[in-house]
Subunit: 345 residues, 2 copies
């Protein structure tokens, strides 16, 4: 049984446990997670014992060649085909996941008597297992290594966008499919914008360099941020860097199974606040990372989840002095029972 077949079984087991007859799976992300076939425009119906996949005619041959444990069909109307199967099988309690559904399709399901049920696939996805962990480790390793290769090549006059492209090339040469998001490369004052859009601004002597990047390797995302000073840093940069660095280490130290996500945020935030820079740490501390660059759980002041062994999360505090510079330091880490493994190393 391959990993996707196992996940489908895990989901069917969950349906049994929750006393649900069936669920519809509408999004390519979850469909890819459950079958290995990731394509916009098909629809799955999963019962406790069966699986149906409805898709356009042009997907069928390709689907068959990749997925040998689910039979595809190509009805004229996928949504109506799912409803027909639900009726034929006399499923009484069929659900959809409100957090993954579009408004129009969700309205359709409701009108047809389906019920909302949150978190079924998200729960399966948050805890990584088996091959997922080694793939994530490799994805993070590629990113960490790319930083070491690119850093000595970042000289005065290079543009942010040229560094972004070189990072992508380096990661692709190591086997990555592409970047895991629009890479954020910020020089000088651009580093003070947490979501800066990488531009053609050239690097000058004595400026901060912030690189927030990652790749997709075998479907899984990595996420890393490194900040350093190009030239001779002044006292302010040195001070801010040391605070963010210590805060990030305090956060990473806090990560282990059983700990509340908010406690990791608190560890970083208190350190930065105590150092007098609390108002300049203007975002959450981290997020889950996996098939999506941002996924469950979240690590911020309001989050209520508990870390479980096998989760992969980022720890990424920052201080942003608008108009001057920003410092963010980020690692992706794997939660373990007694602590965590830093993957972006």
């Amino acid at each position: 049984m391959n990993i996707h077949e196992k996940r489908l079984k895990d989901l069917q087991h969950l349906l049994k446990k929750e006393k649900l007859d069936a669920m519809v799976v509408s999004r390519p992300l979850e469909q890819g997670f459950l079958t290995g076939y990731h394509m916009d425009g098909y629809l799955m119906l999963v019962s406790q014992t069966d699986v149906w996949a409805f898709m356009p005619k042009m997907f069928v041959d390709q689907f068959r060649s990749k997925v040998d444990f689910v039979s595809p069909s190509a009805p004229d109307n996928q949504l109506e085909a799912a409803i027909l199967k639900i009726r034929e099988n006399k499923f009484r309690k069929t659900v959809f996941e409100p957090e993954t559904e579009s408004y129009l399709r969700g309205q359709f399901w409701r009108k047809k008597g389906l019920l909302e049920f949150k978190g079924l696939t998200a729960g399966l996805r948050a805890v990584k297992e088996g091959a997922e962990i080694s793939i994530l480790r490799k994805s993070c390793h590629i990113a960490a290594k790319a930083f070491k290769i690119v850093k000595p090549r970042i000289k005065s006059g290079r543009t942010e966008i040229s560094v972004s492209r070189e990072l992508e090339d380096i990661m692709q040469a190591m086997g990555a499919k592409g970047p895991s998001f629009n890479l954020i490369i910020g020089f000088g004052p651009d580093s003070a914008l947490p979501h800066h859009e990488t531009s053609d601004r050239p690097l000058k002597k004595n400026e901060a360099v912030l690189l927030d990047f990652g790749c997709v390797y075998n479907g899984y995302c990595s996420d890393i941020t490194r900040t350093y000073f190009h030239g001779k840093p002044g006292a302010e940069f040195k001070k801010v860097y040391a605070i963010v660095d210590a805060a990030q280490k305090a956060g990473v130290k806090k990560v282990k199974a059983g700990v509340k996500t908010a406690a990791v945020d608190k560890a970083c935030r208190e350190y930065i606040s105590d150092a007098g820079f609390g108002q300049y740490f203007i975002h959450g501390t981290g997020h889950g990372v996996g098939l999506e660059i941002h996924e469950s759980p979240t690590l911020n002041t309001k989050s209520r989840e508990t870390l479980r062994a096998g989760m992969t999360v980022t720890v990424e505090p920052g201080i942003y002095l608008y108009g001057k510079f920003g410092v963010r330091i980020e690692d992706s880490v794997l939660v373990k029972s007694g602590g965590c493994e830093i993957l972006t190393r």
Copy 2:
């Protein structure tokens, strides 16, 4: 007034025309279209005379530096902040666009008394104007030129993925930000899968080569497909190629303002059916292309739109002989009053 300011005014004019007090704009795509600031996680409220933008604190400085005609604010809860503004201003008829909304947010709007209203922003987006047209022309030109550069470099032994990467590099060197979708490069039997996932399969002598690709230039997508034979084509490939080529030309010839989208599909489909290959043309004929790689209008047997001057659409019939080869020929074209301009040239 820049293009974004003009679009906001166009939208406000539409609100007036439709007798709507205000609308919420939730998706980065539409927000970017209206302001030039494209970022996941903010929310806009547009009335006939005012615009509000609610966002996380960390976006505010960046937003201000890019958008000088809308004032941002950073409330604790963006959705509740929008509702508060609606109440303060006594807006009676505030709408959201069901086709762009997520299920959970749509449910929230409904509970708060907002109404569904389709197609406001899609209508503005479908017809391109001013700078959009020259940007799209350039985006398509880059793709078309990249094909001419890469073709002589595709030799026996090269893998699909290596060709995909080289195409991306060539297009980036010409100013593209990146690919406009996961490029589809199919050799031999892989060309017979319309949505083939580009693999590390090497090219052999005497195989079909299908390249379906495009780039994002200045935010706008191009889309082009070229098919040819690597080696000496047999009679079957020559025949199928000639049919698809003639069908595609028939489709392009049909495109002009005032023509039904289904009529373009019919022109391609009838040609292929009359040649005896109707059952192997297993997808629609085309789609709009712009900020999204697939956008309004659609060109297939069921579509009901009418082409308008300024729309940019693809014309891309194909014949797929599973296990052997496929041929698809695609151009992006600009609809004009008396015909169309082929952009991917």
